[in-house]
């Protein structure tokens, strides 16, 4: 094996950087949607609505129990054969939906644990001043649960960013897909995949630093 073609690697960086908005855009959209869905699922798991609870349990179990790649394929290649209208969904949308469903199941469990972790005395205090259950959740319990869940949720965001690389299997040219094409055009596979690996690594490192800052802030707010 000859040495690395550094010129080629440096030339590839700006090309792949132009795909970061798509990668982060897909990840952010999935994160926001999964957070909303996951919170709803978590609250349901705490409150336990009869019958609905069974479906939520089934949902969480399925999306945690099957690989993300299988879910994406089921969704993008499988379901449209049964439900014709799904053929209208393009790869990006399908990837966002798949990531949302998958990660909302995980987030639901983390958020549920955080809610349950809020001290009983807080619930009782809220009840004693006459708050309704909805008020209690919104004003007392969820803000405290958010602090506990925040670091874990950032971890999920990091996971989502890395998982967007699977979208290339749905024909989406995102950062990984673009790398594949560049490698096939130049035949410098090692260089191309090395560059993309380093780029993902840098993105995740930046997020990890933000995560530390966020944790410190949250803890300061609650310092006694």
């Amino acid at each position: 094996m000859q040495g690395l073609d550094l010129d080629y690697m440096l030339g590839l960086v700006p090309v792949l950087l132009s795909y970061i908005p798509l990668t982060l855009g897909m990840a952010t959209a999935s994160m926001v949607l999964a957070l909303i869905l996951g919170s709803l699922l978590a609250v349901e798991r705490v409150v336990r609505v009869p019958v609905l609870d069974l479906f939520v349990m089934l949902y969480i179990s399925f999306f945690r129990g099957t690989p993300l790649l299988v879910q994406l394929f089921l969704f993008y290649y499988g379901l449209p054969q049964v439900l014709a209208f799904l053929t209208q969904i393009n790869g990006v949308t399908a990837a966002i939906m798949g990531l949302t469903l998958h990660f909302s199941a995980y987030m639901a469990e983390s958020i549920r644990a955080a809610i349950v972790g809020v001290d009983r005395s807080q619930w009782e205090a809220a009840q004693s001043i006459g708050m309704t259950q909805a008020q209690m959740m919104r004003r007392i319990v969820l803000p405290q649960a958010a602090r506990v869940a925040a670091p874990t949720l950032v971890n999920y965001f990091i996971d989502i960013i890395k998982s967007t690389s699977l979208a290339f299997t749905l024909g989406v040219t995102e950062m990984m897909g673009a790398t594949q094409k560049e490698a096939a055009g130049s035949f410098l596979y090692f260089e191309a995949f090395l560059v993309v690996a380093i780029l993902y690594w840098i993105i995740v490192e930046v997020l990890s630093q933000l995560q530390k800052i966020l944790e410190n802030r949250l803890n300061k707010a609650f310092a006694r």
């Binding site: 908005p21 990006v92 949308t93 096939a184 055009g185 035949f187 410098l188």
Partner: protein, 253 residues
């Protein structure tokens, strides 16, 4: 919140435009973007013989050409489901395909070629030496059919790939791959991969542009076919071929 909205907006801008019914002045061309030197990507620029030919066709026929890249095996499905209007990816005319699609005249005359890792070419000299060997082909390509149609097909272990057949052959993961002669020659000349031609081409193939076999598709086919005839007569096809291959692959030998 504003940031979020901006992100969602940026994301929607990145979404490929939704495909509506075909407009008569528009030609959506599908290709894999991973078949050197016919269609490939360097520095985010889609280029190759096919790109040049289609742009020339667009200019000649007054059509607005747009390129859609997707995996090779997905191209036929995309053509059938009206996501694209034709495929510029060295589609070989076969009897089965002629039933389904309306083809233009051939614009590339080529042959099927066995390619091996450099140094193996004395052991494998053609398709008959592939007995007991593992051979890579692109999924959904006519070379897969060609191998399966050989009288000793059951003795060949055919492995289908979405891409990177040349890489896996050069790494010794498979014994050979089968592709068209023209791009094999270019691949060996222009890529750093240690590969060699194994014997002579073993089958003649004619490649053309397929269209949907309905009134609209056939009308578009006729337009493009007329443009191809003109480009052949005025030397444009030969010129594009010389640029990419150093020879004229657009005429029958």
């Amino acid at each position: 919140m504003l940031k979020l909205i901006a992100l969602v907006a940026a994301l929607s801008a990145a979404l490929p435009a939704t495909v509506f019914a075909q407009d008569a002045g528009q030609l959506r061309v599908g290709m894999s973007g991973g078949y050197f030197p016919f269609t490939f990507v360097r520095q985010d620029k889609l280029q190759g013989f096919e790109v040049d030919v289609m742009n020339a066709v667009g200019e000649q026929a007054g059509l607005d050409i747009s390129f859609e890249t997707m995996s090779f095996s997905g191209l036929i499905g995309a053509l059938e489901s009206d996501r694209i209007d034709t495929i510029a990816n060295q589609i070989t005319i076969t009897p089965e395909r002629e039933v389904k699609f309306a083809f233009t005249q051939p614009y590339v005359y080529d042959g099927a070629q066995v390619v091996v890792k450099a140094g193996e070419e004395d052991k494998i000299k053609g398709p008959e030496d592939l007995k007991g060997k593992t051979v890579a082909v692109n999924l959904g390509s006519n070379f897969e059919e060609l191998l399966n149609d050989l009288p000793y097909a059951e003795q060949i272990n055919v492995k289908t790939y979405e891409s990177n057949i040349a890489l896996d052959t050069s790494l010794g993961r498979v014994d050979a791959f089968v592709m068209d002669r023209v791009s094999s020659v270019q691949l060996i000349a222009k890529s750093p991969l240690p590969l060699a031609l194994a014997g002579k081409p073993f089958d003649e193939i004619h490649n053309a542009l397929p269209f949907r076999n309905d009134d609209e598709g056939r009308a578009m086919r006729d337009k493009v076919d007329t443009a191809l005839s003109t480009l052949r007569e005025n030397g444009t096809l030969a010129e594009i071929s010389a640029k990419w291959f150093g020879s004229d692959i657009t005429v029958a030998e």
